[in-house]
Amino acid sequence: MLNDVTFGQYYPTKSFVHSMDPRAKLVLTIAYIVAIFLADNFFGLAAVILFLALAVIFSRVPFGSVLRSVKMILFIIVFTAILNLFFYTAGEELHVLWQWKIIVISWEAIINMVFLALRLFLLVMGTSVLTLTTTPVALTDGIESLLTPLKWIRFPVHELALIMSIALRFIPTLVDETNRIVSAQKARGADFETGGLIRRAKAMIPVLVPLLVSAFRRAEDLGDAMDARCYSGSKGRTKYKKLKFTWRDALGVLLLAGLITGIVFLNLYFGGKFAILNYFFSA
């Protein structure tokens, strides 16, 4: 059965973005996030959207699949957006639209809300392009490689990376297992839907205990299987997937450098996000 953990789930296909170096993609993602928060007006965000659109197109992942990851945090986006709409008070002079007691809706608040929601949306979209185009293994390889300097201070970089990739590998297995145990206990009359918080928490025990027991059993099995396949730590180990920077990565870095420079100029040229209000209201 398929499970719904698309966030951080790889979308297998071959594309420009897929074949980029995971390290490059990681660094680019971080830079992309910086760009989102650097952008101070809608022109800057438009530039980010353009960049994102390019990334999605060249990843050959269907737009719907990228959008699905947003669905999971849609609630958070809407919630923060609404809070911002009603309780935005910063700034000296507000162009008030509507007011009732302490609740004030202003043009500034609307702009702020749209801006914030857009930022969050772009953040999630961008990071899911990373996780959709990079296998968890490549991702951990990338992180391992980027963290390599830490080996000098005896930080267990390889072990950490292995733990991460195994954890990722077992998520679908454990999700399936959880569903199975929940069904089995429901069949024995367990009730997970009614009652207060404490009762519900208590009702989870018949699910959590077997899940934990099973996780330990799997861990033991996996340990044996890894031993049997000659695993003995990072010493003397080679890597099949060697990370290599290519022209694609160079192009990506170039584009993103362009994006950030562009945003800086747009910020300077057009000013903050509320600048458009001056245009409307002063006229």
Binding site: L2, Y10, P12, T135, P136, V137, L162, S165, I166, L168, R169, P172, T173, R217, R218, D221, L222, D224, A225, M226, D227, A228, R229, C230, Y231, S232, G236, R237, T238, K239, Y240, K241, K242
Partner: protein
């Protein structure tokens, strides 16, 4: 050449050595042989298997793989390279989320060069007939396919011995057939030594040799036909005959004069002969 030798091996899971899981086993397995190990749950089959590739070390006695003592730590790596092992639960053996990365795990551990690993992946996936799934994710495969990937992961280390610890137990009939086809081919075409632990008597029939374990000891050892001819004895160890052999025996007991048959096909042939005569 003996691939595996057990010399009066004892092993207990308890600190004080009581109720040993393997109790004084002496055994030789020749290179190229296909051996099936039968026995009830808890008869010591899996323990025996784990003693071969040094996952467990004997309390007393000696286990040698191609002459190398498993107790000598210097040998552990070489032994595990020569004796690969596939386990029961297909979900608990994969380390990676992509098939080719998982198959690469073993070769990476033994420090092979990149190009060589690539070749090994290709060879191993071809040997189990899973080339087209190289870039798939194991979570989406069937049980039989997952188990074939696990076999490929072992093959990529290119061992001479393959141990399968109830690797067909959790599969459906089709998955079981797939796995049996693969290991029979490995045995026939590459001369690989196979140690197959199983509850399915029909699978044991396909081996060169069958060993029955009971309470940590080897109690029967011979060709599958020899073993299944001793049905009374088999029963005392809580084992059954393959179904066709059971029907054949019933017919013989009722006075029908047919030769021993072990599979449905053999039984049908015998019955045809008998009916033509009658």
């Amino acid at each position: 050449m003996e691939a595996v030798e057990f010399d009066n091996v004892k092993y207990s899971y308890r600190e004080d050595g009581t109720s040993p899981a393997v109790n004084g086993v002496t055994l030789q397995i020749e290179a190229g042989q296909f051996v099936a190990i039968l026995g009830r749950n808890g008869s010591g089959k899996s323990t025996l298997a784990k003693l071969i590739n040094a996952l467990l070390l004997p309390d007393s006695g000696q286990v040698r793989v191609f002459g190398m003592d498993t107790k000598d730590e210097k040998n552990t790596f070489t032994i595990r390279k020569s004796a690969g092992m596939v386990f029961q639960n297909p979900d608990n053996q994969t380390v990676a989320s992509i098939v080719e990365d998982d198959v690469a795990f073993g070769p990476e551990n033994i420090g092979l060069a990149r190009e060589e690993i690539g070749k090994r992946i290709e060879f191993a996936l071809e040997a189990v007939g899973m080339q087209e799934f190289r870039y798939s994710t194991p979570a989406r495969l069937s049980g039989g396919q997952k188990q074939r990937i696990a076999i490929a992961g072992v093959l990529a280390i290119s061992p001479q011995i393959m141990i399968l610890d109830e690797s067909t137990a959790m599969l459906d009939p089709q998955g079981r057939r797939e796995v049996m086809e693969v290991i029979k081919r490995l045995n026939r075409e590459r001369g690989m030594t196979i140690v197959l632990i199983t509850h399915f008597m029909e699978e044991a029939l396909q081996a060169d040799r069958a060993i029955v374990m009971h309470r940590g000891e080897i109690v029967m050892d011979g060709t599958p036909h020899e073993i299944f001819a001793r049905s009374r004895e088999l029963e005392t160890y809580s084992l059954t005959l393959p179904r066709a052999a059971y029907i054949c025996k019933k017919l013989q007991e009722a006075g029908l004069e047919i030769s021993d048959a072990f599979t449905a096909e053999e039984l049908a042939e015998e019955l045809c002969k008998s009916m033509r005569k009658g």
